[in-house]
């Protein structure tokens, strides 16, 4: 099937119907299952937050898991649905290598945001007092001083 418009393309991938069908069904199920797991983790996080004293390390761990699952989903969409996995290596690298910038991009800006928060809490006491989350059960113990217990500052 060599068309005039394809002259620059040296070879094509021909997947027969059966293999194609199997691949699409497999990927669809994979994406759905990963999404369901993500939703389940979302519900778990919700229930941890609802509890009396949320375990923040546990929440962070679950959030990390959701991030990894999302990357897995992104991999399957790009590699199977967008057929990037079927392209030649040179082509894949021109897409994937620039995207590596994201590693620095994410780390640097999240770090920056966090540092801004720490500086503001240090030098802007009003900001800290008005925005720092209160521990719910502690507020109930001292009903008259709701804002006076900013949790855990050095």
């Amino acid at each position: 099937m060599q068309h005039p418009a394809f002259e620059e393309v040296s070879f094509h991938h021909h997947t027969d119907d059966a293999t194609f069908k199997k691949r699409v069904i497999r990927t669809t199920i994979l994406l759905s299952v990963i999404t369901v797991i993500e939703l389940a983790i979302g519900i778990i996080i919700y229930n941890i937050h609802k509890g009396e004293s949320p375990n923040h390390t546990l929440v962070l761990m679950f959030k990390g898991m959701v991030c990894i699952l999302t990357l897995a989903k992104a991999y399957y969409i790009v590699s199977v649905f967008m057929h990037l996995g079927d392209e030649i290596r040179n082509m894949i690298m021109t897409i994937v290598v620039p995207l590596m910038l994201f590693i620095w991009f994410i780390a640097a800006f999240i770090w920056d945001g966090n540092s801004y928060k720490n500086l503001r809490n240090k030098y802007d006491k009003h900001f800290e007092e008005t925005t720092m989350p209160r521990e719910h059960h502690k507020a109930a113990d001292h009903p008259m001083t709701p804002a006076a217990t900013p949790g855990g500052k050095e």
């Binding site: 418009a5 979302g42 991030c67 079927d86 503001r120 925005t131 989350p133």
Partner: protein, 291 residues
């Protein structure tokens, strides 16, 4: 595939053929999508940066807990999971349309493109409902020592910290304006009309407010609204343009444009764009609804 690749390996850069084994339009679509990924990435990272700069950020499960037709039921993640599955399924139908195009099967291309368009429109409908619900659904907020009603907009955020101190709430209730009191009562008691409520005295209205059952919050970080509407709106705009592109593809297929050309490469390019929209949603879903 590995065998064919090695057979061509040495001659990739000799000219006369694409060194990436892709026709020009498709390659450029890939590079456009890469640049678009950086645009979305920049928005999402900016959101992350602001979020990390705050001591408090609203819990997504509190903000997004509504479902059409379910009233005030607390259903975190339910509606957004429907939206996510709609996009996944429409991505699958697009894969099928592209595959039908490979085989030159015009009727199948039309069929699967049609379902992809339906999926895109369904997603846009869901998003419209969600935005409408967030903007018009008003919540009771304590600000400047009095209660007020506020929706989720780009200038105000009603999802601050929950206030559990009854003394503070009672004091705030006593300095709340007549009109706001009527609104607060009306928001959870539909047996009276707004006019009836406005005719009542402040004391009567205060008596009708059940402070213990109301979830009164402080104002939350204002940036939340701008980021949410900005990023989901930008994504929604991509979905919208994807739907428009798919409709054009459908009409062109119907008019035998691709049949006469002898190939359905345009469907492949539209398909890439559509999958990218799904890909971006995966990350929007992660950043706004899950973490």
């Amino acid at each position: 595939m590995a065998n064919t690749a090695t057979a061509h390996q040495t001659k990739w850069w000799n000219g006369g053929k694409s060194p990436f084994n892709l026709e020009y339009g498709k390659l450029m679509m890939w590079y456009f999508l890469m640049s678009d990924a950086f645009t979305f990435g920049a928005f999402l990272i900016s959101y992350g940066s602001i979020r990390f700069s705050q001591n408090f950020w609203p819990d997504p499960n509190v903000v997004f807990n509504a479902f059409p037709g379910a009233g005030h039921a607390n259903l975190p993640l339910a509606f957004v999971s429907v939206m996510t599955f709609i996009l996944i399924i429409s991505s699958v139908t697009m894969v099928l349309a592209v595959h039908a195009g490979h085989k030159g099967d015009k009727q199948s291309v039309i069929k699967w493109l049609f379902w992809t368009i339906i999926g895109g429109l369904a997603f846009l409908g869901c998003q419209a409902w969600e935005w409408h619900h967030l903007i018009t659904g008003e919540h009771i907020v304590l600000a400047d020592g009095k209660l007020s009603m506020m929706g989720q907009t780009t200038t105000g955020n009603p999802w601050g910290q929950l206030i559990e101190d009854q003394a503070t709430l009672t004091a705030a209730l006593n300095s709340t304006s007549h009109e706001t009191l009527a609104h607060i009562v009306h928001s959870h008691d539909h047996t009276h009309t707004m006019q009836d409520l406005l005719a009542k005295s402040d004391t009567e209205l205060r008596g009708m407010v059940n402070l213990a059952e109301m979830h009164v919050r402080e104002k939350g970080p204002i940036a939340f609204g701008g980021y949410f509407y900005g990023i989901t709106g930008f994504h929604g705009f991509h979905v919208f343009s994807g739907v428009v592109i798919n409709i054009i593809m459908l009409i062109m297929t119907q008019k035998n444009v691709f049949q006469n050309k002898g190939h359905y490469l345009m469907i492949e390019k539209a398909g890439l764009y559509w999958h990218f929209v799904d890909l971006v949603w995966v990350f929007v879903f992660l950043c706004f609804y899950l973490i």
